[in-house]
Symmetry: C4
Subunit: 257 residues, 4 copies
């Protein structure tokens, strides 16, 4: 970093590179329900080999460092990646969302201000949609800034109107709401998820839908693996619960309750 006098404020961007981008599509995947958005964004970054070009620090992120595997530390941050292609992409991910109401607004506006300088017009925000029960084949629900986008995206199997009357909390919602005011348009893609565990399976469905929209070709092997792992863990928990809960013949419960 060149500037030794940086002071972290509500949203401070530190660039490691200043890429030239043409109307990049902004994609957001930050922590949230089932960690669906973050898992999808990280997998996308890996698969397309996106390059990190900036860190975002904030006095609204937890006041802490994270200890890496090699014993070094990393300050709480969000990260911006880019990938040039037929359609340029900017991807926002990270380990945190702002902790305060005001911080969330300022972080989102700072990101939008930046991508506006690149000419961004289109935004996709990725997240999970908690339904409270286990989901075998998660659908992808959507919400959009404009009615034309709703119609344009129904062809990709996205179910709109399902969340009508509800709200989209955090960066995934604010980027669309504030983006609209900055002449941008966008869609939030939400993967169905139980809400009880991290859900790579739901992230896969969300990312498949996004890949199809952006017409990019990526693999899903790593997400599949993670999904299977989680599925096995869930299975084991379920078995334990069932053996405990249904073992009425043995009358074992008498010893507990």
């Amino acid at each position: 970093m060149d500037d030794k006098s940086l002071r972290i404020d509500e949203a401070s961007i530190v660039f490691s590179e200043k890429p030239e981008l043409t109307e990049p599509v902004l994609i957001e995947g930050l922590p949230g329900v089932g960690n669906v958005g973050k898992l999808a964004a990280e997998h996308l970054i890996d698969e397309i080999g996106a390059t990190k070009f900036a860190d975002i620090y904030s006095t609204d992120f937890p006041p802490q460092v994270f200890v890496n595997d090699d014993g070094t530390v990393k300050l709480a941050r969000n990260e911006l990646y880019y990938c040039k292609g037929p359609t340029d992409l900017v991807i926002l991910t990270g380990d945190y969302q702002g902790l305060s109401t005001r911080g969330q607004y300022i972080l989102v506006q700072t990101v939008l201000d930046l991508v506006q300088t690149y000419g961004t017009r289109r935004i996709y925000t990725l997240g999970g949609y908690g339904v409270g029960v286990e989901v075998d084949e998660p659908t992808v629900t959507g919400a959009a800034t404009h009615l034309e986008l709703v119609e344009e995206h129904e062809q990709y199997g996205i179910v709109f109107k399902d969340k009508a009357g509800g709200g989209i909390v955090g960066a995934s919602g604010l980027l669309l709401g504030i983006g609209t005011m900055m002449d941008m348009e966008g869609v939030c893609l939400m993967g169905e998820t139980s809400g009880y565990m991290v859900d790579p399976g739901s992230a896969r469905e969300v990312l498949k839908t996004l890949a199809s929209i952006l017409d990019i070709d990526i693999g899903f092997a790593k997400l599949e693996e993670k999904a299977e792992e989680i599925s096995k863990i869930a299975q084991r928990i379920k078995q334990l619960e069932e053996s405990g809960g249904s073992d009425k013949e043995a009358g074992d419960l008498n010893y507990i309750g």
Copy 2:
């Protein structure tokens, strides 16, 4: 919106129209006890065909968008309507009040600054007054900025002094308190309500009183309908509770407790 560089701050007004108004009376109905104020303000807007002319955004509103029935999203906001007539009106409503103490002050001051430019002298704030028990014929309680207003308004059947010693929290109170400091005067109209459910019946009484004060002629059919609906729901809940609670002969309760 013309200005692409808007940054939402503690209270940012975005105009869709700049109406010419003559000393408009400011009417406020935001969410609160029994949602009485908001229901009354929205019904008034519908009945007199008021026109929206501005949105108020705030870093103190929940960081979220609301999903509309058609799958599009709407950023958390307050809304300002106007209606020209013998007496011009400006109506403030919305889905939220500021989340923080400071935010409440700043939002109220921003609205007062705006209406002061139109020459506003008179304010009516609408709300509910929770009494903790079901109310069949809700009275309208009042509090005013000046003693002359107390006397002037008692003719409309408003009971003043009932809340003496209590407080009026949120925009309904602050608009009067801060308005006084800006040479405005006003009255808070509070409809009696249980405080347990949304209360269109209480909103009707508040709005009837306001219509009588402003000498405007509006219908109440929609509020009546909503009130009946809520009344039926309340009735059903009561019956369920009573059948559960009084059915001692059958001894059914033994199976529960």
Copy 3:
């Protein structure tokens, strides 16, 4: 008020009069343990006939108005009174302390900035000192900004060093702590109190001590009355508790528990 464009900020003073004062002693009594400080300050204001000269508003006070007995409203505030005499006095009282940590600092600094313009050198802050048990003859405990003040004030029967190792929270503490940094000096007078009820008896002891220090002659009849009233209420509560707790012979408790 002349200035219609006032915006309430973290601490905004609105003057109704600009008295000429000579090095006034600042006396503070705001709500706190047993309401001792506020009761003492208000009684002092009544007895010496002090004149209100300013209101302090703050975005850190509860966002509400208080409804007076006549149906008018009053915005949450602090109040400044003065009294000219052999020693001029400025008295700070009110219904609230700042709600946030930062607000407390800013309110206190704003008051100190004001009295510094009058040449204030000496501060007395009044409060209660909760001991958790009923106190028949409350002592007055003290803490001071300088060791000379400790020595100077021990002659008035104030017990210093009793609170050693503890803290004085809120305006009573901050006025001394920050005052020191502004070349002022001061003493906090804390009346022993149970901490369970408002305690006019403790306020009387604190005020007697202060009157003796300031060499002013005031009556205590009203505080005595209030103290007796509270004492009777406490007595009744005690009797009820005792009859309930010890009435084992009558076996009455079976009807309750």
Copy 4:
């Protein structure tokens, strides 16, 4: 203090002396788990006879004064000490860390801005590492800003990588995280501790490691004494618990439970 017009803000430094220092190493020990960091920093200050040169006040510290043994008061603060030697040292300690997320960032940045003017390049932050069980021989765990520092410090018996995947919360973490951005480097030394009591024994191990790194020769008698005292108290608590828990023969527990 010269400046009577100081207003305490988020981080306000008041100097009692302006020492000339050459690239001092910054050492931080503030309250935290087991109070390990603060105990270590205070002991170091005593042993090397460091001189206080500045107080740091903050609207983010508790709004209170602390009552000293002599009846005088002290405003909540942090303190900076220095000691000139083969390697100059600046030591940061105090009774509080910032209460809010944002305050923590600003306090840390203010300290770093100051020591940067002295040419500081190296930082050591001291703290405890709670393990939830009693520890007889506490190890010292570390985390560093750069991989070279990890390697450089393993010779002192510091266990790196043990906290991998975890976080370091508060000033100990932020000083490293933000320091890195200001071209500084540093290590956090964390003493194993149960986390249930203040732990002078863990502080001794941390300080021994630091003394060895800085090649300074200090005594540990006072920390030993405190450690023994705490150890005795812990012993007594344990005995009480055990006698209570294992005294089955006497059947005494029947009288309690």
